[in-house]
């Protein structure tokens, strides 16, 4: 998946990855790649400023922790972050449902909304 397509959803992806528990920056990148099956073609360097931005707006909290014998800044969701993730998931479901309804080949040129009624 191209970076431009991913960029608009980066916040939701980062929040979803951190929904499993606190992670440091590179662990976030690893989790993104693992959960996407390596399909997300995103410059990993863009993840660090995005994490700082999400912390600035209160969706993440960070603290320094020792990971593998090194001090790392680890991030975790705040309550506001969990709420934002719920919103991202709802918007994504609505978005994919609408696109899927239009792209369905069996409807041809028919009105998907009308056909569903």
């Amino acid at each position: 998946m191209k970076a431009d397509a991913v960029r608009g959803h980066l916040d939701g992806l980062l929040l979803a990855v951190l929904d499993q528990g606190p992670l440091h920056g590179y662990a976030v990148i690893e989790a993104l790649q693992r959960r996407s099956g390596g399909e997300l073609d995103l410059p990993t360097g863009t993840v660090y400023p995005a994490l700082h931005r999400l912390e600035r707006v209160g969706l993440l909290a960070s603290e320094w922790a020792s990971v593998g014998g090194r001090r790392r800044r680890t991030y975790q969701l705040t309550d506001a972050g969990r709420g934002a993730l719920t919103g991202h998931r709802r918007e994504w479901r609505e978005f994919t449902a609408a696109i899927a309804a239009v792209l369905r080949p069996d409807l041809g040129g028919a009105d998907a909304t009308g056909a569903a009624r």
């Binding site: 590179y26 990993t44 360097g45 660090y48 400023p49 700082h52 931005r53 600035r56 090194r70």
Partner: protein, 225 residues
């Protein structure tokens, strides 16, 4: 090639990439440090992961840098976050440093003999200072609010506005406090302390405001793909 030579080449590859990124980013080094240190850790981790997968150490570093992204691709996101962080730092100076300076100056005037008999122009000046303080606090609070809301888009000109207010307010308040101080001498060590505080306040506010303006300029060497 020896292991030491390989290690040197690896370090050079990542260090050169981060140096190029740092050079492209505007603003003081201290403001960039946290983000760049974190990026360095990530690059080292990525290279280690490639090495663990059996990749040659030099190639592992090259792949880590490739995965990280070209300076032109990642610098805008770094620059924007650095500008926001500096804008918030300067806003906190506006909210705390300058009001504290004026409060101390007004408090000092109360120590003067018969403070209720101050000349009219002193009272007018004190009123103007209070107005400038109100404007700076309002600007600082508004900037902090705008940069901490997840849903609102931060205006592009916000760092420049905060910077301008910081520099002008720093000059105005420092000049005003100095005028109050010299027009209404107070005995004891307090005037000297206020003079030092005024210089520190002006220096801090001006430096922070100018740093804010520099970060607002955006990345400098980014070229479109």
């Amino acid at each position: 090639m020896t292991a030491a030579h390989r290690a040197d080449r690896c370090a050079e590859h990542i260090t050169a990439h981060l140096a190029a990124l740092e050079a492209a980013l505007p603003g003081p080094a201290r403001g960039k440090r946290a983000l760049l240190d974190e990026a360095r850790d990530g690059l080292d981790d990525a290279a280690a992961a490639h090495r663990d997968a059996g990749v040659d150490p030099v190639e592992a570093e090259r792949r880590a840098v490739l995965d990280f992204g070209a300076v032109a691709d990642v610098a805008p996101a770094f620059a924007e976050e650095i500008a926001m962080a500096q804008t918030r730092r300067t806003s906190r100076v506006l909210c705390v440093m300058l009001p504290a300076l004026v409060l101390v100056a007004h408090g000092l005037l109360l120590l003067a003999p018969a403070p209720w008999q101050q000349p009219h122009d002193q009272l007018v000046l004190a009123g103007h200072l209070a107005g400038v303080v109100a404007l700076t606090v309002l600007t600082g609070v508004a900037a902090l609010a705008l940069t901490s809301r997840p849903v609102s888009r931060v205006p592009d000109r916000l760092p420049a506005v905060v910077s301008t207010v910081a520099v002008l307010a720093g000059l105005a308040l420092s000049g005003g406090v100095a005028a109050l101080l010299f027009d209404r001498p107070v005995s004891g060590p307090a005037p000297a302390a206020l003079a030092v505080l005024t210089v520190v306040g002006l220096a801090t506010t001006s430096w922070s405001g100018l740093a804010c303006r520099r970060t607002a300029a955006g990345p400098t060497v980014v070229t479109p793909r």
